[in-house]
């Protein structure tokens, strides 16, 4: 892939991470929940998750700024892994929550179980597949160049 294309891609993902991070911080400070289509802000630690997303977005911008291609890619992987940590924890708690039932029930019914997965989702969960694709792209490129 051309360097310029990669830079544009990194900048886009960076902005896509930075802006929700900023919004997360605002909603976290205000203590409010906000939902737009399948995207939602709110829940525990919204502020913290916002801060980490903002930092991850900044790391993507660092990556755009890097001239050394290996540095650039490693920086992108680092930024992505920050998204994975938050998104991974979100998914883990969604999965665990969907298993247990409410009062007097050990397990959820199938319908209840599935209802946990229809969204809306927090930004880190939505960014997760994008960043995974990005990392696959970035690392497979390294193998080809060598």
């Amino acid at each position: 892939m051309k360097r310029k294309t990669l830079d544009i891609l990194l900048a886009l993902v960076g902005a896509g991470t930075f802006i929700p991070g900023l919004l997360g911080i605002l909603f976290g400070l205000a203590g409010e929940t906000y939902t737009w289509r399948i995207l939602t802000f709110g829940g525990n630690f919204t502020l913290w998750r916002g801060l980490i997303l903002l930092a991850a977005g900044t790391q993507f911008f660092f990556a755009v700024n890097q001239s050394n291609p290996v540095q650039k890619r490693a920086q992108a992987v680092l930024a992505s892994s920050m998204i994975w940590i938050i998104g991974g924890i979100e998914i883990l708690s969604t999965v665990l929550n969907s298993i247990t039932g409410g009062e007097g029930a050990w397990l959820n019914t199938a319908g209840e179980f599935l209802s946990h997965y229809t969204g809306p989702f927090t930004p880190s969960v939505l960014l997760l597949p994008i960043s995974i694709l990005l990392v696959i792209l970035v690392t497979s490129n390294e193998a080809k160049n060598d």
Binding site: V70, L78, L92, T100
Partner: protein
């Protein structure tokens, strides 16, 4: 025959020149990534993400097992069953083993077979498993020393260096291995400081688990107050104590992928240790406190300490019983607090006092053992107790004062 060091190095250089060929070091994404995690600008945000992940995993995992399975299991099935099935209702034995026959939740029954089992298995076990799972992964991936390098600057302000973060983090699981790991620090001063600070201010995984399940709404305040205490008293101790705090010298190992086999083996050793060491202590603690209650010892202590408790700390005198239990297990003590009627601020204060008033017996014996190597038992214990009493009075009293100033007492 022996060589002198200089000649030894000379020979080794020669051997290395003959047999080792250094290729041009080619940087890969992996090796650059390994560097990025120790550079402050990129490493610190990443460390925050890792700590968030640590915390989030702990919260989700422990919450799932405790609230999702063990609470209903114990409250809806085990507790009502044993309350009925156990003979001799009204006898002292029933009181010690089962506790309150009317209790509707396992935290408040306060018997060995009810609260004792519930706290040990239902609350603490998931917390321990979650904690050590993450710790082992952090250790095996080579991330721990990176964290040490990153926090080095901050810890230098209180006379410690980055590697003190290892005992600190281990202590969040259990203070005992935390105290044991202080032996990796170089000077007596550092060992003494970190030993005292962590056994006073760092709540263990068991206690965290109970706090999280009982009083999640106050959790943040309690932790902030304890961590602030850690740094305030660390700063003071650093000024008061003679001795040196050397620079950190370390090789940061490369990042590696932890293997499932290694992680699961380490985890198994920890969990086994929990079953053999911690569970008997929890049960013993419940039993002892119940016996002391029956003998009237607790109400006697409570009455004689009442001025101190209500006047200085602003908490009800009934908290004496959990404090005594806390000597055996802090987690148990916090659980017993929940049965006492008090305001939110009083609850925060009591939990803080429980955390700082004295290390649990297992930590205490480890301090004695390690103290021998850190300037003598007498000095460590003497200095430790002196620090402890000061900390409890000042830090506990200060919290009461804050409460008065905020008007929430």
């Amino acid at each position: 025959m022996k060589l002198d060091p200089e000649e030894r190095w000379r020979l080794i250089d020669r051997v290395a020149r003959e047999t080792v060929e250094y290729g041009a070091e080619r940087s890969t994404i992996g090796s650059v990534l390994a560097e990025l995690t120790v550079k402050p600008l990129t490493g610190i945000p990443f460390a925050f993400a890792v700590l968030y992940g640590f915390w989030g995993f702990f919260d989700a995992f422990a919450g799932f097992f405790t609230d999702g399975f063990f609470v209903p299991l114990f409250d809806d099935h085990w507790l009502p069953w044993i309350q009925e099935a156990f003979p001799l209702k009204g006898s002292w034995l029933y009181y010690v083993l089962v506790g309150d026959p009317e209790a509707v939740n396992s935290f408040e029954a306060l018997g060995m077979l009810t609260s004792g089992f519930f706290v040990a298995i239902g609350v603490v076990l998931p917390a321990i498993v979650a904690f050590y799972l993450v710790i082992t992964i952090l250790e095996d991936s080579g991330y721990m020393p990176r964290l040490a390098v990153l926090v080095d600057t901050v810890l230098h302000k209180i006379g410690l260096h980055g590697f003190a973060v290892v005992p600190m983090i281990l202590s969040l699981g259990c203070n005992v291995p935390g105290v044991a790991s202080t032996r990796t620090l170089e000077t007596k001063k550092q060992r003494f400081m970190i030993m005292i600070l962590l056994s006073v201010f760092i709540p263990c995984g068991a206690q965290l688990g109970v706090m999280l399940s009982l009083i999640p709404e106050y959790f943040g305040y309690i932790m902030i107050y304890l961590v602030t205490g850690f740094f305030v008293f660390g700063w003071v101790l650093n000024k008061l104590l003679p001795g040196r705090s050397p620079e950190i010298i370390t090789d940061v190992p490369p990042l590696r992928t932890p293997t499932i086999a290694n992680v699961s083996r380490k985890l198994w050793v920890k969990v086994k240790g929990f079953f053999t060491n911690a569970i008997p202590f929890v049960l013993l603690g419940v039993g002892l406190v119940n016996l002391l209650y029956l003998g009237g010892v607790i109400s006697w202590i409570a009455n004689s300490l009442e001025p101190l408790f209500t006047g200085w700390f602003g908490i009800p005198k009934e908290t004496v019983a959990p404090l005594i239990a806390g000597f055996l297990r802090k987690d148990l003590a916090v659980a017993q607090l929940s049965a006492i009627d008090m305001s939110g601020f009083q609850l925060i204060t009591s939990v803080v006092i429980i955390s700082i008033y004295f290390p649990c017996i297992a930590t205490f014996s480890m301090i004695i053992k390690e103290g021998r190597k850190s300037g003598g038992v007498i000095r460590v214990l003497g200095g430790g107790l002196l620090t402890l009493v000061t900390v409890v009075f000042l830090w506990g009293g200060l919290l009461h004062l804050i409460g008065i100033l905020l008007g929430v007492t």
